[in-house]
Every structure is written in structure tokens, then in C-alpha cells.
Point group: C2
Chain length 208, copies 2
């Protein structure tokens, strides 16, 4: 935990110690699921290293990408769970190998009243996630697939800090709730426009 302190510069000293004492550090492999839709929430999760993606699933197995969690980010849902409502409605999956800090909900509820900086952390987290969800809604509601695809690529470039995304059209189609063929065609157009280059195992983003 000591090595992750820099992620939480705003948390006060006592809280830093408590995080260390009460939290359990969990390493997860890429692809592993941290929180399953429908599962009960008993712990708050904070990402320490790696990248986690959150997505919504429906009954027919369709899924829909919501947003990423980066080191220092807390999982909004699990941050403010209270006793009355504890079922998760989203799925969290590790994109890369990741490290997560897990804290029992009983702790965090105390912290909320005890530490002003924890309150700010939670509030800030929720606010950002909420805004990000709104942005997502904007895109589904107002934009066409081509624009949404570009946004998807930009977002993933930013999240992974790389211009080369090792990702298949099939995966993209799933996360945008579209179909592989559509993504394939749009991607071809992006390539023609010189915005991306199609590599044999991935996509290089040139200018977006």
C-alpha cells in the first residue's frame, strides 16, 4: 500500500493509515471479473494499478461499455452503497492485470463521517462517474455510429496511453452494442480517411 500513497495526495494522514490497515490488496489478471451484475456489494473497491472497465449487461447477453477506472479511482457504486441497496447493476472487468484495494463497507461508512477528505473523495468520484455516464448518454442518444466509434477509440487511447489498440472489431462491436460488420466497414472508412491504420493485430490511431 505504501507505494500507492501518491495516488491519494488529498487524503489526510490518519485516513491513509486506515486505508493501509483495513484494506486488503487484491491482484487480478486481465480479463478477470471483479464485480458481476446482480452480485451483492460488500466492499468498496479502489483501483491502485492497471485498468478496469465497467459495463452494463442486459438479459440477452448484450453489453454496453460505460467507462474506465484508473489508478486512484474508486468504484462509484461500491463507494456509496448503504445497507438498503446492495445489488450491483453493472459488471467490472480488468482490462489489464490490475491491483485493487478492497475495504469492507462498514469501514467506509465510518470514514464518511470521520474524515472530511474521504467525503470529498467520494463526492468527487461520484460526480465524475455521473458526468461520464451523461457523456455516454449523449453519444448514444445524439450521435451516429461513426462518431461513436471515433469517440470510443479516443477514449481507449487515453485510457491505455497508447496509439496502438490491440482490440478486435468484434470486441468493439460488442461494447458499442453494434455488429462486427458495421464496425468493419466504418473502420475501413477511418483508414481511408487516414485517421487510423489497420495493423495485423490491432489498430493504430493516427489522428483523431
Amino acid at each position: 500500500m505504501e507505494e500507492y500513497r501518491h495516488l491519494f495526495p488529498d487524503l489526510e494522514e490518519g485516513l491513509q493509515r486506515e486505508l493501509q490497515e483495513k484494506g486488503r490488496i487484491l491482484a487480478v489478471k486481465a480479463g478477470q471479473i471483479l464485480l458481476q451484475s446482480g452480485q451483492n456489494i460488500r466492499n468498496t473497491m479502489i483501483v491502485l494499478d492497471g485498468l478496469i472497465k465497467l459495463y452494463r449487461e442486459n438479459d440477452e447477453g448484450n453489453e454496453f461499455f460505460m467507462y474506465h477506472l484508473h489508478p486512484g479511482d474508486g468504484c462509484a457504486l461500491s463507494l456509496i452503497c448503504d445497507r438498503s441497496f446492495k445489488v450491483s447493476s453493472v459488471t467490472a472487468k480488468a482490462v489489464t492485470d490490475s491491483v485493487v484495494l478492497v475495504v469492507p463497507l462498514e469501514q467506509t461508512e465510518n470514514w464518511m463521517r470521520q474524515y472530511r477528505t474521504w467525503y470529498h473523495f467520494v463526492v468527487g468520484t461520484y460526480r465524475r462517474r455521473y458526468e461520464e455516464l451523461l457523456e455516454t448518454i449523449d453519444h448514444i442518444a445524439f450521435q451516429n455510429m461513426d462518431e461513436r466509434l471515433e469517440f470510443y477509440l479516443r477514449r481507449h487511447r487515453a485510457a491505455l496511453h497508447t496509439n496502438v489498440l490491440e482490440i478486435t472489431n468484434t470486441q468493439i462491436a460488442q461494447e458499442l452494442n453494434s455488429s462486427r460488420e458495421v464496425i468493419s466497414r466504418l473502420m475501413k472508412k477511418l483508414a481511408e480517411d487516414g485517421k487510423v491504420r489497420l495493423l495485423k493485430s490491432g489498430i493504430e490511431i493516427l489522428k483523431l
Copy 2:
């Protein structure tokens, strides 16, 4: 304020008094805008009477309905604003004549640490709005217009406690970010299926 106490049965005595002392009661007419997209947030708003709708707007003037606030509901966005981020990204408009309690943000931040029940109120509010947003996303992402229209009608019936919605197809089209003609056709089909009856100034919901 005294007359609205029953809306907050869970808030502790001292907090009830503070709400009364520090809050300002505001009456708004149907159609009036309470919170404009892009506007700064300085106050927390809690609905005491009437019905408020929240919607998202984009640059081209398209809008998109998000959810309703009923008496007893707080505006999630304004509840957890902190100093760092104060611009609203949604618009709030009174659907019917309404009454709203307005409390300066400085107050509510104190309450958060002072009153456990306030903390629960905020957490519960945020949680519900978040879930509602997710539900909305589900509908745009996974469903066709006909299903979304039915959902829209059910939601509004529940919010207004009536089977007769006095609303034009044009309005519905706007809130679903569709077009009048599409809604017109779908509505006709709903009528043929016996699910609604088209009145001369509105829609009667029969079985949905």
C-alpha cells in the same frame, strides 16, 4: 416547511429544524426552468411539491429526457457539488406548478458531517438517480423506439399518477430525441393494439 415534514420521515429532529431555518421555499410555475444547462450551482434543491423533469441538452438544441424528481427527492447533482466543480450539465424544468426547498451549498456540506441521516439521504438520492440513469441507458442502447415509447408512457403515468397524459406527440418526440412522425405512427399502432386510446387532447393509457 412544517407541512412538508412527512416527506422526510428519516431525517433527525435537529436536521428538520435546520432545513426549516436555513432553507428558502420557492414556488415555481409549470414550465419554469430551475436549473439551466451550463449554469453554476450554488444551492441544493429538494422538491417539496409538484414534479420536476431533468433532461440533457446538446448544442444543436436536441434534448433528452433523463428522469423525474418527486416530492421528497433531492436534485442529485446539486446535492453533492463541491467547490471544485459547479457547473450543471443538465436542465431542470417544472412539469407542474411546484414547490422547492433551496439550501445554500455551504450548509449542506456541514450537514453531511454533522447528521448521519443527511448522509443517508444524499447517498440514497445519488444511488437512485444513478440507477435510473443506467436504466435510461439500457433503453436507448438496447431497445427500439416502440419499446422506448411504451416505457416513456409508463414512466409518465407513474410520475403523474394518472392514466390520461396531456401531452403532444411533438413533445414526446423531443424527449425521446425522435421525430413527430415516428411517434405518430407508433402511437397509432399502440392504439390499434388496444394499449392506449387517443383522445382529442392527450393519450389515455389502457394497458401497458
